[in-house]
Each structure stands twice: as C-alpha cells, then as structure tokens.
Symmetry: C2
Subunit: 347 residues, 2 copies
C-alpha cells in the first residue's frame, strides 16, 4: 500500500497527496479533505525510507553516550527522546562503554544510517572519529568541550553557579575544612568542576588542603576507594564535595560503614542530582544539572545547525543551568553546637 493507492482512492494525483501530507499551503481544501479521508480509511503511513532517499533528510539524530547503565544517561536519553519525537525526529543510541573500538563502531553506525547530527554526550572523546563525522559534514554538539567547527557547537554547562552555591551553603553552615573528590581529570568536564570548586573556595577565603583533594573516576566504586583512602590517611574535612552523585554515594557508603554519620560528622554534596540521590540515606544534597535541560539544549542545538536556522550570522551559544538542591546530607560542622536555629560556630 503506497501513495498511489491513496491518490487513487482520493481521485487525485500522487503529487497532490504528497503536497497534502507535507502541508504545502496551495492545496485546495476540498482535495486535501479527500486525501486525508483516504489516508485515514486506508490507514496509510508514508514510507520513511523513500522519503529520506529523495529528500536527503532522515530526521534521525545520533545520541552517543558512555554507558547506558549509568543512571545519568537514561534520564538524558528520556529527555532527548521526548523532544526528538515531539519534533518528528528519531534517535539512534550508541553506547560506547568507554571502549574506543565500540565508539568507532557507533560512529560507523551513525554514518551508515545517515544521521543528520550527533549529540556526543560521552565523557571522553576520540578525536579521529569526530573528524570522520566532520568530514561528512555531520553536525555535532558536545558537552563543555569539542573542537569548534562550522557544524560543531559546545553545550556550556554553568558549573560555577551550582558549585558556588554548594560551597556557599556549606560556608554559611560554618564549614572551613573542605574536601573534594574530582572526576577523572583527563576529562574537561571534571576539570571545569574542580576549577569551579577551587574558585568557590577562594571566594569564601579558604585555602584548599592538598590531601583533601583527590581524583576519583565518577563511579560508585571509585567513590568508595577515594573515601577509604581519605579515611586511612587519618584526617577528614568537615565538608566533602564530589564531582558527581555516584562518587558521593560511594563515599557515603564508606562513611556509613566506618561508623561516621552524615551530616553530623561530615557534610556531603554531590553533583548531577540523579534520581537515586533522593533515595539514599540521608538524601543527598547535590548540585542539580537537569538532564532534561541538557537533552533539550543538545537537541535544539543540533536541529538549528541541521536545519540551518542560525540566521543571525554567528552561531548561537547554548547554556545549561545548574542549581543547588539542598537535602539532608549537609549540616553544621562536627563539634559545632547546633541546637539553636542560628548557626553558632564554635570558634
């Protein structure tokens, strides 16, 4: 069953059917009505392959993620799927699992299916693969980084705001001893978060202590290891920020096991605000980066490049906001008399 059947049924030419479906305004109302009726009756769906072939537009975007089983990504995918479908696009998901070979395969799949753009949401990025895409003039968006290019846009996450809010929040509670478990520093986004943290400390006039700043890997296991190490080293800050929630949850687990209470002994702040953050014990105070905002920014950026909508001449900048979500993993520093409503720092 194809466009010809519809045309026949509606007693018009196939061109009229095509025009009707595509919303060309010059179609006569009456004819359009007949066409829609025929479509309805026959339960006709246009053939996407044929459409794509002739128009050169697949209405397909690639979405490259690090690891679909990391809770961060399904939330991102959900948001992306939603906007994409709203706008008549489909998405091709590729999960690289931190493996360059799989990443390469993903890129290949995207090219083979002629995606009109790729959102690169992986933590690490392999240069050569992106050149493959760039050479085929496939638009791309990246989080934070990404080589600038005619068809490439970065999504700028406002780490500073959220992390400053977190540090400020702790400072107000009376904290002066801060620790930080970063993400893997080979990743730009980990660097940016850490830099934002250090900058925030400076703002409140606290000098960072080297042994309280360690490098994790953004996994739960990594968070546990870092916390174990810090505990073994003997001294503990009163407040600990983590580069993502999984790390914070790992740290939390180790603290609990060691008989230390959160937030009474140590205040803990994560980053991302994954769903799980709300359900650990105690619920995690964290810097929220909305996966939905990120997904929408990625989609809109991609679409505006793909559809050549950047009329204004210079490419638009896409920003993703962050904000502190206060839950129950932060409190007064240990040794503080915290009975009253107002903070009363010992010293």
């Amino acid at each position: 069953m194809d466009i010809r059947d519809v045309a026949q049924h509606a007693k018009v030419s196939i061109a009229t059917v095509s025009r009707t479906i595509n919303g060309v305004p010059t179609v006569d109302k009456e004819l359009a009505r007949r066409v829609w009726a025929a479509i309805e009756e026959l339960n006709y769906f246009p053939n996407t392959q044929a459409r794509a072939l002739v128009s050169g537009r697949t209405r397909l975007f690639g979405l490259l993620v690090s690891e679909i089983t990391n809770p961060f990504f399904p939330e991102l995918i959900q948001g992306f799927e939603e906007v994409a479908v709203e706008n008549g696009y489909e998405i091709l998901i590729g999960s690289t699992n931190y493996d360059p070979e799989r990443m390469s395969l993903c890129v290949r799949r995207m090219i083979e299916r002629s995606v009109e753009g790729v959102a690169v949401m992986t933590f690490g990025v392999e240069q050569p693969l992106l050149e493959e895409l760039a050479s085929r003039r496939v638009p791309m968006v990246f989080v934070d980084a990404g080589p600038p290019g005619e068809l490439v846009r970065p999504l700028l996450v406002d780490y500073r705001k959220g992390i400053h809010e977190g540090v400020q929040h702790l400072a107000v509670l009376g904290h002066r001893e801060f620790g930080y478990i970063s993400g893997p520093l080979r990743h730009r986004s980990s660097q940016l978060r850490k830099a934002a943290f250090l900058e925030a400390l400076e703002t409140i006039g606290v000098t960072p202590r080297k042994d309280w700043i360690v490098e994790g890997d953004h996994t739960l296991e990594g968070g546990m290891q870092c916390m174990d190490a810090m505990l073994a080293a003997g001294s503990l800050p009163t407040a600990l920020l983590c580069s993502n929630d999984m790390t914070a949850i790992g740290a939390l687990r180790v603290l609990n096991k060691a008989g230390l209470r959160v937030p009474e002994d140590v205040s803990l702040i994560g980053f991302d605000d994954i769903h799980l953050a709300e359900f650990v014990n105690p619920p995690l105070t964290t810097v929220r980066m909305s996966r939905n905002d990120l997904a929408r920014a990625a989609f809109n950026a991609l679409r505006s490049i793909a559809e050549g909508q950047e009329l204004s001449g210079q490419p638009r900048t896409w920003r993703v906001p962050t904000a502190l979500t206060v839950r129950q993993s932060t409190g007064y520093p240990r040794g503080t008399d915290a009975v009253g409503k107002k903070k009363r720092v010992k010293k």
Copy 2:
C-alpha cells in the same frame, strides 16, 4: 558519493559493486578486490535508505520498554543493542512511561520507520496497538504473555526454578514464616511470580499467611509503602520475598529505618538482580533473570520470525532461565542460635 563512484573507480558496473558488498559468491576474486579497494579509498558507505527502499528490509527492530529510567531496562537495552549491532540491525527504542497514549505514539513511530519486528518488553500491554502491528504483519515477541499469532512469540521466563531455589534456600536456613510483596497483579508476569512463590511454599509444606502477602507495584516507593504497612500491622515474617529488586530495596530501606536488621531480623530476597542489588547494604540475595539472556532471546526470536528461519514447521519456544544469587540479605531466622557453622534451628 555513491555506488556509481565506486563502480567507476573500480572499473566495474554498479551491479558488480552491489554484488561484492552483499557477498554474492559468483563475483570474480580480482574484481571483488578492486571493488573493496575502491570502497576503502573513497571511504564509501552504502546508503541505508536506498537499500531499505529497494530490498524492503530496514534491518530495524523496535524495542518497547516501560520506562527507560527504571534500571531494569537500560541493562536490557544494552544487551539488545549488542546482539542487534553484531547482526547488522539497529534498534528503535520507545519508552511508554506507562502511558497508553505514549505507547500508541511509540507504535506509530515503529510503523512509520518500518521496523521488521518489535520486542514488547513493557509490563502492561495495550491490546489494540498490537493489533495494529499484527495487521501490518510486524513480528512481535512478548515476555510471558502475548496473544499467540502467526508472527508472535512469547518469551517464557522460568520463574519457577529461581523462586523455588530462593524459597528452598530460606527453608534450609530454617525459615517457616514467609512474606511476599508481589508486583501489580494485573500483569501476567507478577501473577506468574506470585504463583511460583505459592507453589514453592507448598513444596516445603508451609501454608501462606494472607496478611504477609501484599501487592506492591514494582517501584522503590511501592516497596517502602508495603513494608511500612506490614510493620504497622504488627506481625512480621522471618523471611520476605519481593517480586522485584526495587521493591526489595524499598522494603530494606524501611526495615533499616525502623531499626530492624537484615538478615538478622528479617531475611530478604529480591528478583531480577539489577546492578544496584549488589551495592545496597547488605548486598541483596536475589533471583537473577539475566537481562542479557532476555535481550538475546528477544532478538533471536524476532530475527528468526522476520527472516523466516523457522524451517522446522512449528515455531520454536524461547526460554529464559533464572537462578538464585545468594548474597548477604538472607540468614537464619531471628531467634535462632546461629553461632556455629552449621544451622541449628531452635525448635
């Protein structure tokens, strides 16, 4: 850049290029070599749209899930993606979010993109939508249920084995007081699990207590509510099985908050063995249903229908195994002297 460029480059006809790419055996070795060289040099990828249009085969499968943010599904998706890609297929993911309207939209998307089959992995199933697919002769697979049909196959999960193992394990430890938090009983898979549980109790000669058998909804929140209710009701079994891990984790959380210890006060068994199960405290004993096995079964079943490989005449049956994974949420019943290595039940 298209097949003609390759043909020209290799000084052969486009037909030969096509044959070479598709592995038609009659192609002369030397010509094939030239073709591959040209493909390599030009960095040529066949156009999937054109291929699909002429061959009628999209090499696309739909994967319908309930909610991509439920940790069960990403693991399933990962497995499905892996097999699919290995076999040159792509997948179109549709997340219904338990919303019939979204489900309907998903089905529409699948049809529009001409998927060659749909794996329906959602918990609930809307009859009419499946008829839409069936009427277009789209092969389908279902977990547990699914109306039989020429192009429809059920994936039979062996709930009984895993759940019997779980109950047996508890019985050996000395438990005689069993509770069960089921999934939503409007779903066939919840019914089957519960039936398997009751059957297992019968096997060990224990009569189920009605007030210890409650209906949950397979969410963490639901598990918490059920546990709260059971606690409020006053009496508690010594062992509690849950219809899935999220439920068990919810129950665990409430138990912990109430000052009850697992497994000292209550033994707990989940179902699914999601990644998280290993990382809660204590690590959860659970019945493992491998998402990978399930995904592979779904893919293979779909493929064998789509490619008409069921030579044997009668459709093949696809089974998915389950097995108990013992961790640390199960132990001797409370009130038992469990100091020795051997079990020593009081009575």
